[in-house]
């Protein structure tokens, strides 16, 4: 078999170009690939994309999930989380992180009891002050002030990590909203807190609430809402809808929403979801030719490259990009649960697309295009055929996949006969039931007469 492969038949080379890299173009490609695989996960750069609580949450997530063998990374993440928390007022979180560090980062990163106490005391005072203010507003019945009061309470709780309370306070402002601007502000706050809490059903409902306001939303808010909706869909596994929302996000988003999502994430989430769920034409029209989304894709060249590779059928390089990205994506707070599913779907799509134009496919070549073994490939193909996603049959003896062209005429005959049979059966049992009901009714009316 090897000898066959070596003989450079131009036709075969052409097919190989689908996946592997023939010598001519290979040099440039390979060098590019080296850069990516050398690209270690840079926490500092990653963290700098975000602000606020999500930064801390993401850092802690990385610390929890990067695995025991990577303690340097874990400690780095914890150290940065520690620094970030110290800037805020969340003592609860601070204690947790200190516990996690467990003194491994030297004396600078241990429990700071004095800091905790001052922060807590200050919080107590502030709460009292806010309480008094709110009470005063309420007795005076000034709508706007009450709204502000609740809003301040929400901000206060949010800063101290009491998300449930914060959510309640923000939602309470709703009764005192007078302009649509206020409503949007309320919705945005509620969305922010809900995302932090992982309550994505709330996110979806507040997004639609915000989108229903009469006033036209400004570009940035609209983009923020799209992102939030995309996240909500992603978490509830509606990948296609998620992809649409992310693709609709306007580039004005910039880093305005970095307390939730970075533009890089929009590119990654949107790109992967689109790849997994869109068909070829949709992919071309909505992703590759989408000028707005191109701005996002420029930020994450790997995703851009892999989408282009997928579209131009360079599956091997596309899958390699995906494999390189995988470790990082698994550390993403929103995407990690969905990476496997999305990857499976993308791979299936690639397999289906590969087989589509051929009448027969040599499994040997296909396996090398997908960088896998023949048996493994056969298993994947069989699963797809069983699922009715590929119309083909495997010649397991000669290792060839033959496309199967359904015989329309025979299928029609079969269907017609079956339909006739079903009709026959249904009508007959229906007539029978009718007669039974008639009998039953007659019997009852007889007994009533008697």
């Amino acid at each position: 078999m090897d000898a066959d492969d070596e003989s450079s038949n131009p036709m075969i080379d052409e097919i190989y170009a689908n996946g592997g890299s023939p010598e001519g173009v290979g040099g440039e490609k390979r060098s590019r690939r080296l850069i990516i695989s050398g690209d270690q996960f840079d926490i500092e750069a990653y963290a700098s994309l975000y602000s606020g609580r999500t930064k801390i949450a993401r850092l802690l997530f990385i610390a929890d999930h990067c695995g025991g063998d990577n303690s340097a990374m874990q400690l780095e993440a914890l150290r940065m989380a520690f620094d970030e928390i110290k800037k805020g007022e969340n003592t609860q979180l601070f204690r947790e992180v200190v516990n996690k560090i467990g003194g491994r980062l030297g004396p600078d990163y241990t429990m700071d009891v004095a800091w905790c106490e001052t922060v807590d005391r200050r919080a107590e005072q502030k709460k009292e002050k806010l309480d008094n203010e709110l009470n005063a507003y309420r007795t005076n019945l000034i709508k706007e002030s009450i709204r502000m009061g609740y809003n301040d309470f929400g901000d206060f709780y949010y800063a101290h990590g009491q998300l449930g309370e914060a959510f309640k306070s923000y939602v309470r402002t709703r009764d005192y909203c007078t302009t649509s601007k206020h409503i949007i502000h309320m919705c945005m706050s509620a969305i922010l807190v809900s995302i932090e809490m992982g309550q994505f059903t709330h996110v979806a409902s507040y997004v639609s609430k915000a989108e229903q306001t009469h006033e036209a939303l400004d570009q940035i808010t609209a983009a923020k809402l799209r992102c939030a909706a995309g996240l909500a869909n992603l978490v509830s596994k509606k990948y296609k809808l998620a992809a649409r929302k992310f693709l609709e996000t306007a580039p004005e988003l910039g880093s305005h929403y970095n307390e939730v999502i970075a533009p890089q994430d929009v590119a990654t989430y949107g790109g992967l979801c689109a790849l997994a769920t869109f068909d070829r034409t949709e992919l071309k029209a909505k992703v590759i030719d989408n000028i707005n989304f191109r701005n996002f894709l420029e930020l994450v060249p790997e995703v851009r490259e892999l989408i282009n590779d997928f579209y131009s059928s360079h599956y091997a390089s596309c899958l390699e990009y995906l494999a390189n990205l995988k470790a990082n994506l698994l550390l993403d707070i929103h995407l990690h649960d969905h990476v496997e599913t999305l990857y499976d779907q993308i791979r299936h799509k690639a397999l289906i697309q590969y087989t589509l134009p051929f009448v027969s496919v040599d499994l040997q070549m296909m396996a090398s295009a997908f960088k896998t073994t023949i048996t493994g490939l056969e298993k994947e193909l069989v699963a797809l055929i069983t699922d009715n996603q590929i119309q083909a049959r495997v010649d397991s003896h000669n290792k060839i996949l033959y496309a199967r062209h359904a015989d329309q005429r025979n299928a029609t005959f079969q269907r017609v006969l079956e339909t006739g049979r079903v009709f026959d059966r249904d009508v007959r049992s229906m007539l029978l039931r009718t007669n039974l009901i008639k009998y039953d009714y007659n019997a009852r009316s007889l007994s009533r007469k008697l």
């Binding site: 495997v394 397991s396 005959f413 006969l417 059966r425 039974l436 009714y441």
Partner: protein, 425 residues
């Protein structure tokens, strides 16, 4: 003159014209009680009457004669008499007293059961049912007894002759339930699973106000046969909408082991299914369904092999054995061979390489037989839809139906106008 002799003379004299027979019927009705009182002395009377000419009289006397408790010896003598009568009697005369005729036939059934020779009742009951029914669409109370005897005597083919008629007219729902249930069992015995499914389907979805044991047993068999035939259980979530609400609500609760079996079947894992059957053998055995359950397990192998034909063109016997979880390639070969023989798959086995080559269905729908077959289907369905529209017309003219519908509409309108008074309350 002895009243009995007078009666015999009347029977002999009044059995020719329809008018006479009607008069005789009245006389016989009046004499019924006295006949019963004399039941022990009646066997010579029967000797004086010819069953073919004096059918009505003979029937009354025979009924009285067999009305008492009977021992095994007596049954030996009375079975041939009843059989002879059923074979010889005049259909028009006995239809004047159908209840009596049914009663006599049921006694015959009881007697052959007592003699533990159900096969002796099969032929006479078939004749009886044919003579009693006004048309082939009519279900007589004898149908279910006949089918039961067929099941007991394992005369499935004879039973099939009556099952091939389309039944529409039903007097007693119970007759239909039993008819369909036993009919289903006969079709299962003949491995005509589709027909069996249709019959059992009728039982399960029949209108009923309370749940009955026949429906429960039919439902169990329905699940099993549907697994064997279709490889799945489509109604697992709910019965069709037209089924009675009682059936939809509570049928499931009585068949839990079967529904779990179907779920286990759905996982497509043979080991799991076998383990489940193993642990629940006793339950299935108590229901007399163990044989069917074993067929279900067997059908899983077949189903899995059939699935392979969809995905592979060629596959080695070893691989088949591995995927279908059979012990050896030899066993796989046996299964494949059997399935080819039964026409369930189209394939050739290459024993030298141990490869199986799956082929497409060779049916091209081009032969004369196929065209004829299709044509007859079309004719049948056209006849059926004519019947359907006739039925529709008949019901829309039915007085009872109209009065019921009319009344409901009226009440509805009344409610509509009733709104203000509601507010007053």
């Amino acid at each position: 003159m002895d009243p009995m002799e007078a009666l015999v003379a009347q029977i002999q004299g009044l059995s020719s014209t329809p008018g006479d027979i009607a008069r005789l019927h009245i006389i016989l009705k009046q004499a019924d009680d006295s006949l019963r009182a004399e039941s022990t002395r009646l066997s010579p009377v029967l000797g004086q009457l010819a069953p073919s000419e004096h059918s009505l009289g003979f029937l009354y006397v025979l009924d009285a004669f067999t009305s008492g408790q009977i021992s095994k010896q007596q049954a030996e003598t009375s079975v041939p008499i009843i059989t002879g009568f059923i074979n010889a009697c005049n259909a028009e005369q006995i239809r004047l007293a159908p209840e009596k005729f049914v009663l006599v036939c049921k006694r015959l059934k009881d007697q052959v059961m007592m003699l533990e020779a159900p096969i002796r009742g099969v032929g006479p009951l078939l004749t009886a049912a044919r003579k009693l029914q006004l048309s082939t669409e009519h279900l007589t109370p004898l149908h279910s007894d006949f089918l039961m005897l067929c099941v007991l005597a394992k005369c499935y083919k004879t039973g099939l002759s009556i099952l091939e008629d389309d039944i529409f007219e039903v007097d007693q729902p119970r007759d239909l339930f039993l008819y369909c249930y036993y009919g289903g069992m006969i079709c299962i015995g003949l491995k005509r699973f589709q027909k069996a499914l249709d019959l059992l389907h009728n039982v399960v979805t029949a209108p009923m106000s309370t749940l009955n044991a026949i429906a429960v047993e039919a439902y169990k068999k329905y699940i099993l046969v549907s697994l064997i035939h279709h490889g799945q259980w489509q109604l697992s979530t709910s019965l069709p909408k037209y089924a009675s609400s009682v059936a939809q609500r509570s049928l499931k609760n009585f068949c839990q082991p079967y529904i779990e079996l179907a779920n286990s079947y759905g996982t497509e894992k043979i080991a799991e299914l076998e383990a489940y059957v193993q642990t629940n053998t006793e339950k299935f055995e108590n229901d007399n369904n163990l044989g069917l359950v074993k067929q279900v397990v067997l059908s899983m192998y077949k189903r899995n092999i059939q699935r392979l034909t969809q995905t592979y063109l060629t596959l080695s016997l070893q691989d088949i054995a591995n995927t279908v979880q059979l012990n050896s390639p030899k066993e796989a070969e046996m299964h494949v061979l059997q399935m080819i023989q039964d026409g369930e798959i189209y394939a050739t086995i290459n024993q030298r390489d141990g490869m199986v080559r799956f082929l497409e269905d060779p049916e091209q729908y081009k032969t004369c037989e196929m065209i004829e077959n299709i044509d007859s289907s079309i004719q049948r369905i056209m006849a059926l839809s004519r019947k359907l529209s006739a039925m529709d017309e008949q019901i829309s003219c039915d007085q009872l139906y109209l009065s019921k519908v009319g009344r409901e509409r009226q009440r509805y309108d009344f409610d509509d106008f009733d709104v203000p008074t509601k507010f007053n309350i």
